[in-house]
């Protein structure tokens, strides 16, 4: 919609965000297939697909939850309410946008840092999931810092654009 008004960084951010969403969509499909197959094999042959629970919980759910956050930022699709905001005068609106933007950048930035440290430590000890399979899950830890770093960039860029665009 406003795509042609976007400068190059926004086009790039939008492209990254869409890529992340596409990966999340694949993860949704993977949940569908893994659970359906597991149920079918368990019911028909008493031969469940070993590790379905771990694969779905870690390798599918983590990307589904965290990768789309960037596009929520890029497109302003986070759940918020303008019940009061819409009655604000322009100056107050601009201030709201700045406060909200700084807060978002701060939270995503902090989350990027924290989850990066976690990913490093998880990789270092070769983290495995609890349960009978002890499946390695350290690779999925890296999804979080990536998702939060890209969301930080998106929130920052959007704050600048929205501050200018307040009406």
């Amino acid at each position: 919609m406003i795509l042609n008004a976007l400068s190059r960084p926004f086009v790039l951010l939008d492209r990254v965000a869409r890529l992340q969403l596409a990966i999340a969509a694949f993860a949704v499909m993977a949940i569908l297939l893994a659970i359906s197959l597991d149920v079918a094999l368990r019911t028909a042959f008493s031969a469940p697909l070993t590790g379905t629970m771990e694969v779905v919980s870690f390798y599918c759910m983590i990307p589904v939850v965290f990768l789309p956050i960037m596009i929520l930022e890029v497109r302003g699709e986070h759940i918020d309410t303008d019940l009061f905001y819409r009655f604000f005068p322009v100056a107050a609106k601009r201030l709201s946008v700045i406060v909200s933007g700084l807060l978002s950048v701060g939270i995503y930035g902090l989350l990027t840092y924290i989850t990066f440290e976690q990913a490093v430590s998880s990789t270092g000890r070769g983290e495995v999931a609890m349960g009978v399979n002890l499946m390695p899950v350290w690779p999925v830890r890296w999804i979080l810092p990536v998702a939060f770093a890209s969301s930080t960039a998106a929130a920052f860029a959007l704050t600048i654009r929205n501050t200018k665009g307040v009406k």
């Binding site: 969403l21 596409a22 999340a24 969509a25 694949f26 993860a27 949704v28 499909m29 949940i31 569908l32 659970i35 359906s36 597991d38 149920v39 368990r42 019911t43 629970m53 779905v56 919980s57 870690f58 599918c60 759910m61 983590i62 589904v64 939850v65 965290f66 990768l67 789309p68 956050i69 596009i71 929520l72 699709e77 986070h78 759940i79 918020d80 309410t81 303008d82 019940l83 009061f84 905001y85 604000f88 201030l95 709201s96 946008v97 406060v99 909200s100 807060l103 978002s104 939270i107 902090l110 989350l111 924290i114 989850t115 440290e117 976690q118 899950v137 999925v140 830890r141 979080l144």
Partner: protein, 439 residues
């Protein structure tokens, strides 16, 4: 007591302010909880909570049902599977004011009998029913309110995750609890329908301006059956796979989504593009809701470390004079806290305090449990933090605004209060069925 509760009130005030200046709801919850935990314990504890809770919650198997039920709804709506049902219900229920909304309540109740969670029920039904109602010029508030409120039947009509948790905490039979939820669930449904019919009769514009069924040619019985079939088949797949022991309520979501794909293929309405779009929309909606679930879990932790339990203890010591006083106190507490905290978080926070009191007053714990669960479910549709509302908002995007939905559910919240009064006044509604079966 006042000084104990002051930090919590300040935090909730800050939360409301952030939401008012249009900070996303999930980020508002995260920010307030982070500052709150830092204030109560330490920065390290706040960072530790932020490091663990999002990852641990997201990798929780039980949540995998929600993207699957979302997908089922998106596939059904993208491929037009269920539009026929609502066309048919207009023809069959042509004389009933608000027929589409009424059949949506009924469909949600049926769906609730397959799903263990209110959010999952609302997820599936929002994309199936609301676009149909909007395209028939239903009042958006009524359309969204119907699905948000009927979604709460997911926890009241068995199976129900909240009931299992309550059963473990309160030491009552989960099977008996399941039985006990059935009549209150049907009662809630009947009261919703009665309210919808009455309102639409008085004000036909709520339901798209009265009876316009003549706009469309009446179809024959065969076509009618084809129109109706997909949703009952989906519900049958989900319910059937659980009752046959093939799948758990969590896994049944995936079978429902797979069923939607197969039905769409059979009806020749499936296309890879629509499937891909449904997958992307499911991921997007789920992530939008999950940011709020994460924020809600952090807020639950904050109020725990801020000593909410001490405040509650004092509150309840004063009010524990009798069962009705306890129910009144619990109702006020759950309605107030339910504005901010989701149902499972609220149950975890309050059960250790409230349940022993109920036991000491020799209350029927099944009856008390159903009242608690009904109260918890109301919290899913009250502002400012109402998970079912957010499910609908993220499913419909710009088609509706949050204030419209919150306004639309007000009627349903009043009906829930009426249901609660009936459940309290007539315990038999709740305990007759389990007593008959379990003795």
């Amino acid at each position: 007591m006042l000084e104990d509760i002051t930090p919590i009130l300040v935090a909730l005030g800050a939360l409301l302010s952030l939401i008012a200046i249009r900070v996303p709801v999930g980020l508002s919850l995260i920010a307030v909880s982070f500052v709150g935990i830092t204030y109560e314990i330490s920065l390290r504890a706040a960072i530790g909570s932020l490091a663990r809770i999002p990852y641990d919650l997201a990798s929780n198997w039980s949540f995998s049902a929600i993207p699957m039920f979302l997908l089922m709804g998106y596939v059904a709506s993208e491929t037009g599977l269920t539009s026929g049902l609502f066309r048919a219900s207009r023809q069959v229920l042509a004389r009933l004011p608000g027929a589409l909304a009424c059949s949506s309540v009924l469909a949600s109740a049926l769906f609730a009998a397959a799903s263990g969670s209110s959010v999952a029920t609302a997820s599936a039904m929002s994309k199936i029913a609301i676009p149909e109602m909007l395209s028939r010029r239903y009042d958006p508030g009524l359309a969204c309110g119907t699905i948000a409120a009927s979604g709460t039947l997911g926890s009241l009509i068995p199976p129900s995750i909240v009931m299992i948790l309550y059963g473990v905490y309160s030491d009552v039979s989960i099977g008996a609890l399941f039985m006990a939820g059935i009549l209150p669930g049907i009662l809630s449904m009947a009261i919703y329908i009665a309210m919808i019919v009455t309102r639409c009769k008085l004000n036909p514009s709520l339901a798209g301006g009265g009876d316009t069924a003549e706009d469309e040619p009446t179809v024959g019985a065969g076509q009618l059956l084809m129109d109706i079939a997909p949703l009952p088949i989906l519900i049958a797949i989900v319910m059937g796979s659980i009752s046959m022991g093939w799948a758990t309520p969590t896994e049944a979501g995936a079978l429902g989504a797979l069923g939607a794909v197969l039905i769409a293929i059979a009806m020749r309405t499936f296309s890879p593009a629509s499937f891909w779009s449904a997958l992307k929309q499911s991921a997007l909606s789920f992530a939008a809701i999950f940011v709020i679930i994460i924020g809600g879990a952090l807020l639950t932790r904050y109020v725990a470390v801020a000593g909410l339990n001490k405040v509650l203890e004092q509150l309840f010591v004063e009010s524990a004079a009798g069962p009705l006083m306890l129910i009144a106190a619990v109702s006020v507490l759950y309605i107030v806290l339910g504005m901010f905290i989701d149902s499972i978080g609220l149950l975890l926070l309050t059960a250790p305090l409230v349940l022993p009191l109920a036991v000491s007053l020799e209350m029927d714990m099944i009856w008390f449990g159903i009242i608690l669960i009904k109260l918890l479910e109301i919290g899913l549709i009250t502002p400012p933090v109402g998970l079912n509302i957010f499910v609908i908002k993220s499913a419909l995007g710009d088609q509706v605004t949050l204030p419209t939905i919150f306004k639309g559910v007000t009627w349903f919240i009043s009906m829930d209060v009426l249901t609660l009064v009936l459940l309290v006044a007539f315990p038999a509604i709740t305990i007759w069925l389990p007593e008959m079966i379990y003795g």
